[in-house]
């Protein structure tokens, strides 16, 4: 179980699944306002909503990422012109959850890109250091870390949230190498 951080509350996977019936098959009604409103309408889920939180200093990043998630889940199938799958809402929102676990004042906002099999990838690229996390659903993460200067490459898969402590280690390592003041 991840420690609860002080600050604004956010969403759990269970919330996302509970809300999924509200997401139409085509087009996206998945929005920050919808999610917040739904949370407020279902008091029984507040405990879950409180399970993840993001510090106030990351508020702008959070809103930008939620906007990006909304954009990604709005993509139609074949968005890459080569038959890509639609982005799975649970993958997109789980990507934000992953970000919430890593956020520090040093770590910049990641880029969020869709993957052809319905996942979402968080990416950081700074000073020749690459840190990429592919989120395919609610558990498994595929990680790529490479430092051009040292030639060090790490490729790992984390199969469940119980292994996510490793993420924090790699995020700190990324910040240490890519952000000189860290």
């Amino acid at each position: 179980m991840q420690a609860v951080r002080p600050g604004r509350s956010f969403l759990s996977d269970e919330d996302v699944l509970a809300w999924r019936p509200a997401i139409p098959e085509s087009g996206a009604a998945l929005s920050w306002n919808l999610l917040r409103a739904t949370a407020e309408m279902q008091p029984s889920q507040r405990e879950l909503v409180e399970a993840i939180s993001i510090p106030e200093f990351a508020d702008d990043n959070l809103h930008a990422l939620v906007d990006r998630v909304q954009e990604l889940v709005s993509l139609r199938a074949d968005w890459d012109s080569y038959g890509a799958d639609r982005v799975k809402p649970e993958a997109a929102l789980h990507a934000i959850k992953v970000y919430s676990l890593l956020v520090t004042e040093d770590l910049p906002r990641p880029h969020l890109v869709p993957t052809v099999n319905g996942g979402v990838q968080l990416e950081w690229h700074l000073q020749g250091v690459d840190f990429e996390i592919e989120v395919l659903g609610r558990g498994r993460l595929d990680i790529f870390f490479e430092d051009d200067a040292s030639g060090e490459t790490i490729e790992e898969s984390l199969l469940s949230v119980r292994e996510y402590d490793r993420l924090e280690v790699l995020a700190k390592e990324f910040a240490r190498r890519a952000i000189p003041a860290s």
């Binding site: 990604l72 993509l75 968005w79 890459d80 012109s81 080569y82 038959g83 890509a84 880029h111 890109v113 869709p114 993957t115 052809v116 099999n117 990838q121 990416e123 690229h125 700074l126 690459d130 990429e132 595929d142 790529f144 490479e146 490459t153 490729e155």
Partner: protein, 132 residues
């Protein structure tokens, strides 16, 4: 091929000096203060389901077509190119896979690890940037 692995499919009739074009959705391009011209995500070269689709320049030229023709119906998308020789240097193979709508279509086979995808993204040359 070491380790008893199957050889990567490759068509030697496709010359090394040919180019492979790939359409690029703007969702795979990061634009920020560090990359004002845009940085291509390695995810642009992910198999789906088993290979990466490209268009062969030699097949386009044979039909008096060019990379801009790949964007018909795909407004806002871009096109990058990679030399076939480079794909082969990465351990990949290229095989023609013509379709009724895209007779120039080909598939890039072989293992595209995250490191290989990064190499492809870095080596790709912009022919048409998204939105141009």
């Amino acid at each position: 091929m070491a380790g008893g692995q199957s050889p990567v499919p490759d068509d030697p009739s496709i010359p090394d000096d040919s180019l492979a074009y790939r359409r690029i959705t703007p969702h795979w391009v990061h634009v920020d203060e560090l990359n004002p011209a845009g940085r291509l995500s390695s995810r642009a070269f992910q198999d789906h389901p088993d290979a990466v689709s490209v268009a062969l320049r030699i097949e386009l030229v044979a039909r008096n077509l060019g990379p801009a023709d790949l964007l018909s119906g795909w407004d806002g998308y871009g096109v990058v190119s990679l030399p076939v020789a480079f794909l082969r240097e990465c351990g990949l193979g290229v095989v023609r896979d013509p379709t009724s709508g895209e007779p120039w279509h080909a598939l890039v086979w072989g293992n595209k690890s995250p490191g290989t995808r990064k190499k492809l993204a870095r080596a790709a040359t912009w022919i048409i940037r998204p939105g141009d």
